[in-house]
């Protein structure tokens, strides 16, 4: 088979982080090639380099596509050659119809006048190819995520795709939709379309792909062939992690105390659609000095559960009871949550965690200005002193505390958010994806900090999509599926497979 794509010695640096370090990738004509690695390993960056999101000259190295050297300045140029990328976050416009989305930027028109009949006809044909039998004039917002994913693929097909790149396509899908999608890729393969598949779901991958390239810390580790190398899941994980698990997850002697927070019969409804129940009758508790995990697939209601407990910041018609140190408490808003000693570190630090244009100092003190003020007048000297202390104890790498948060790397931003909540001196910290999108070194530092907090007797609730992270850090793990707590396992009894079983346990089964 001929090589369709070869990326050679690709190096890409962001301020403070070397995201790609001499990466090589070879993809053969007509294969399904998997790209795997931990979060932050550089998969998405590599694909952005390939598709021209990171233009030529912003990286070093060569890209050869069908034997030709490519220097893309933007996405349009790569799409012209038939390289189409479908991102994790779908790029569809909810208020427009399927047909309008499929031909967005590529409208079927003569002299600027759109030919609707042709657009709809062609869309219908494309939808048939991806096995979606609905009216092309349906609005995107009216169809589910699984179908939206298929519309994205139909859109890619409309561009006469030769190389289809899918970034975590099944992350948000249920099993049935995932299977459909993967079967579709196999179907495409028969038609000669090459695919690159980025995914964390190794069992899925292994069923459909031909070869796997493993990235770790911005470097190519190896490319395995499913046929020749007798690949197993363990083999891939070893390549991805590449180190003793104990190195990444620091040792901790766990000595849980009394129950610090208990939530009972917790029910939450969707604020946009009050009929839809998001959390069903959830019960859980956290002990002092204990790290408790919540595992669940995307859409299981993890963040919704956490935010609804944290001062009802999400949801409506919330019912249930919260106990702190055995006493029932009422938490109606974020203020009361903070007063009761709760802290919530959001999964989306840029949207919910930081005021990006403010300094590190201002971000660190924002949730507890009370501590550095008297009768509402700020003591700025005290503020500087406290911020410097936090900068030191959190090991935030920034030239000064006056640096704007936007200029920090992801890992350091995360340390600022964590530091901000440590400054409120909480008894319970809810950490929602505390290591998402940060490099391994910073991850390790954050794990150590989390362990220190547990050692100080604080209760930690940790939400994560990465099962190894939960298994490495937690004393106890709850699993969440479709808004229900479906299992509770202790560290010593837990393994990935069992957690996955609980996480995918739906109402029906």
């Amino acid at each position: 088979m001929a090589t369709i794509l070869s990326m050679k010695n690709i190096t890409k640096t962001f301020p403070g982080v070397k995201a790609l370090d001499n990466v090589n990738l070879e993809v053969e004509q007509g294969e399904i090639h998997a790209l795997v690695g931990e979060n932050g390993a550089g998969k998405s960056t590599l694909m952005k380099v390939l598709s021209g999101v990171h233009p030529h000259h912003s990286y070093s190295g060569d890209i050869l596509f069908q034997g030709q050297k490519c220097e893309f300045k933007n996405i349009n140029q790569s799409e012209e050659l038939g390289i189409v990328i479908i991102h994790q976050e779908l790029a569809l416009i909810p208020e427009l119809s399927i047909a309008e989305n499929v031909f967005l930027g590529n409208e079927q028109s003569t002299k600027g006048i759109i030919n609707w009949n042709e657009s709809i006809e062609k869309t219908k044909a494309l939808l048939d190819k991806v096995g979606l039998h609905i009216n092309p004039q349906t609005l995107i917002k009216q169809i589910g995520v699984g179908k939206q994913q298929l519309v994205e693929i139909a859109k890619a097909l409309s561009k006469e795709v030769k190389l289809l790149i899918l970034d975590e396509p099944t992350a948000a899908l249920n099993e049935e939709d995932s299977e459909n999608l993967l079967n579709l890729l196999v179907e495409f393969k028969k038609q000669g379309i090459t695919s690159i598949l980025i995914s964390h779901k190794l069992n899925e991958l292994m069923a459909v792909v031909d070869r796997i390239t493993i990235l770790r810390d911005g470097k190519t580790i190896e490319t395995l062939s499913m046929e020749k190398d007798g690949v197993t899941e363990q083999r891939i994980i070893k390549g991805m992690v590449g180190r003793d698990m104990n190195d990444l997850y620091p040792e901790r002697v766990s000595q849980p105390g009394g129950v610090v927070l208990e939530v009972k019969e917790w029910n939450v409804y969707n604020p946009e659609n009050p009929q839809q129940q998001i959390i069903h009758n959830a019960n859980f508790h956290i002990k002092k000095g204990e790290i408790v995990g919540i595992a669940g697939l995307m859409g299981a209601g993890r963040t919704e559960l956490a935010m609804s407990v944290f001062g009802k910041s999400y949801g409506r018609n919330i019912s249930g009871r919260i106990f702190k140190d055995g006493k029932e408490i009422k938490i109606e808003n974020v203020n009361q949550a903070i007063e009761q000693g709760l802290a919530y570190v959001s999964e989306d630090r840029k949207k919910y965690g930081l005021v990006l244009n403010d300094s590190v100092r201002e971000n660190l003190t924002l949730a507890n200005l009370f501590k550095i003020s008297r009768r509402s007048i700020l003591n700025k000297h005290e503020e500087v002193k406290q911020a410097e202390n936090l900068k030191g104890s959190m090991n935030i790498k920034t030239p000064t505390i006056e640096q704007k948060a936007i200029n920090l790397s992801g890992g350091n931003q995360q340390k600022v958010v964590l530091g901000k909540w440590i400054f409120t001196n909480p008894d319970v910290l809810i950490l929602d994806e505390p290591t998402r999108g940060i490099d391994v070194g910073a991850k390790n530092e954050i794990y150590k900090k989390i362990n220190d907090l547990a050692q100080e007797g604080k209760g930690i609730l940790m939400i994560s999509s990465e099962l190894p992270e939960l298994l490495g850090m937690c004393d106890r793990i709850y699993t969440l599926a479709e808004g229900r707590i479906t299992g509770e396992v202790n560290k010593k009894d837990a393994d990935q497979e069992q957690l996955m079983t609980y996480m995918t346990r739906s109402r029906r089964s």
Partner: protein
């Protein structure tokens, strides 16, 4: 010299506006053959722009919160009309009428703040509606006519000067005394800050530079007092302005609620999840704008000694322009009170200088528009570069 350069380059944006103001003043001083900076004219510039400065302060807070207020001109006109009605038609005393007028301003602010903060109607729409509503109500209150004159004492706020209690012939001694006091307060404050800085281990500027800064600013304060004293002394309205500028600067920089305003504008979600009551913050910022609009309306009516249906026309645009030239970002989270005041002065000096030169109102508008565009474009270009 190297240190001076470093301090300068770190504060280029802050100094940039001051340099622009000085540059424009020098330009017009030359073009007008020295008229611009005469004691009489400087006093005029302060008094002519007093109500815009008051509005610009409130507008800065609004813009920092990430909102906008297009109604301030209409509100100022409406409050001017109400105050005239109370004092002229109902014979109310000046003090009571002023207090009622400011309260009315607060109510108007609360009305608009309610729609913006609690019903989530975009501020642009709420205040566009307010612009029409309060202009219409002004016409209704005034019956389409001009109400004048105000009773004795009302125009004192905006048109009179501090009494010359000490005597002193051509020089207004009380003004000089106030200038001297200001210098002493300034020096004591700077010395205390420097002591604190040393205590808390800050990087501080070297002593000669510090001394130079003290001397320079003291001379500026004294020179300004002297110029005012040469004419009629300190205008009452300048006293109000200084009080507002210092008060609001302190509020925005040194209080928890001031910090909350910056955080709400910078990132509403993050502010909310940090326990800040974001809706309440937005609501009160509008109430504050209402009160300051009312104050501006009173000052303007006092200056004209009349309430007219067309009062306050386009004030909202002057106030927004002042805040934005002064470094406030319409995206929210960024801006300073002092910057807005300098922005207002830049516009004021331009207005005044062009009027002296006899440039028509037509060209004045066009030139002011270009200045606004240039100021913000330069800011954007420098920001893009620093990325």
């Amino acid at each position: 010299m190297g240190e001076l350069k470093e301090v300068f380059s770190q504060n280029i944006r802050r100094f940039g506006m001051v340099i622009a103001l000085i540059g424009i003043a020098v330009l017009f001083q030359i073009l007008t053959g020295g008229i611009l900076l005469t004691p009489l004219n400087i006093t005029n510039i302060v008094m002519q722009n007093s109500y815009i400065i008051v509005l610009a302060i409130g507008m800065t807070l609004i813009i920092i919160t990430g909102e906008i207020d297009l109604s301030v001109g209409s509100v100022a006109a409406f409050i001017g009309a109400i105050s005239a009605y109370l004092m002229i038609n109902l014979d109310m005393s000046v003090a009571v009428a002023v207090i009622l007028s400011l309260l009315a301003g607060a109510l108007i602010g609360a009305w608009q703040g309610f729609w913006v903060a609690y019903v989530n109607v975009p501020a642009f729409i709420v205040t566009l509606a307010g612009m029409l509503i309060f202009r219409g109500l002004t016409l209704i209150v005034l019956g389409g006519r001009t109400l004048s004159p105000f009773p004795e004492g009302f125009s004192t706020i905006s048109s009179d000067f501090l009494p010359d209690l000490l005597g002193g012939g051509n020089l207004h001694l009380l003004t000089m005394l106030l200038g001297g006091l200001a210098v002493i307060v300034y020096l004591l404050n700077e010395l205390k800050l420097r002591r604190d800085y040393l205590k808390y281990n800050y990087n501080i500027i070297s002593f000669p530079l510090f001394l130079g800064k003290l001397i320079a600013i003291s001379i500026i304060i004294l020179a300004f007092s002297y110029i005012l004293a040469l004419y009629a002394g300190m205008p009452n309205v300048l006293l109000i302005l200084l009080f507002l500028i210092i008060g609001y600067s302190f509020y925005m920089n040194n209080t928890t609620t001031g910090r909350h305003i910056y955080a709400v504008g910078g990132n509403t979600h993050a502010a909310q999840l940090s326990g800040i009551k974001t809706k309440k913050v937005t609501f009160w910022v509008f109430v504050n704008m209402g009160v300051l609009s009312a104050l501006a309306g009173l000052i303007f009516a006092g200056r004209l000694n009349a309430a007219t249906p067309q009062a306050g026309n386009l004030f909202e645009l002057d106030a927004i322009a002042a805040a934005v030239i002064g470094g406030a970002s319409l995206a929210g989270g960024v801006g300073t009170v002092v910057g807005a005041v300098i922005g207002a002065l830049i516009m004021g000096v331009l207005n005044n200088g062009m009027s002296i030169l006899g440039i028509g109102i037509d060209w004045q508008q066009a030139i002011k528009g270009l200045v606004l565009l240039t100021a913000v474009a330069l800011d954007m270009i420098s920001k893009n570069k620093s990325k």
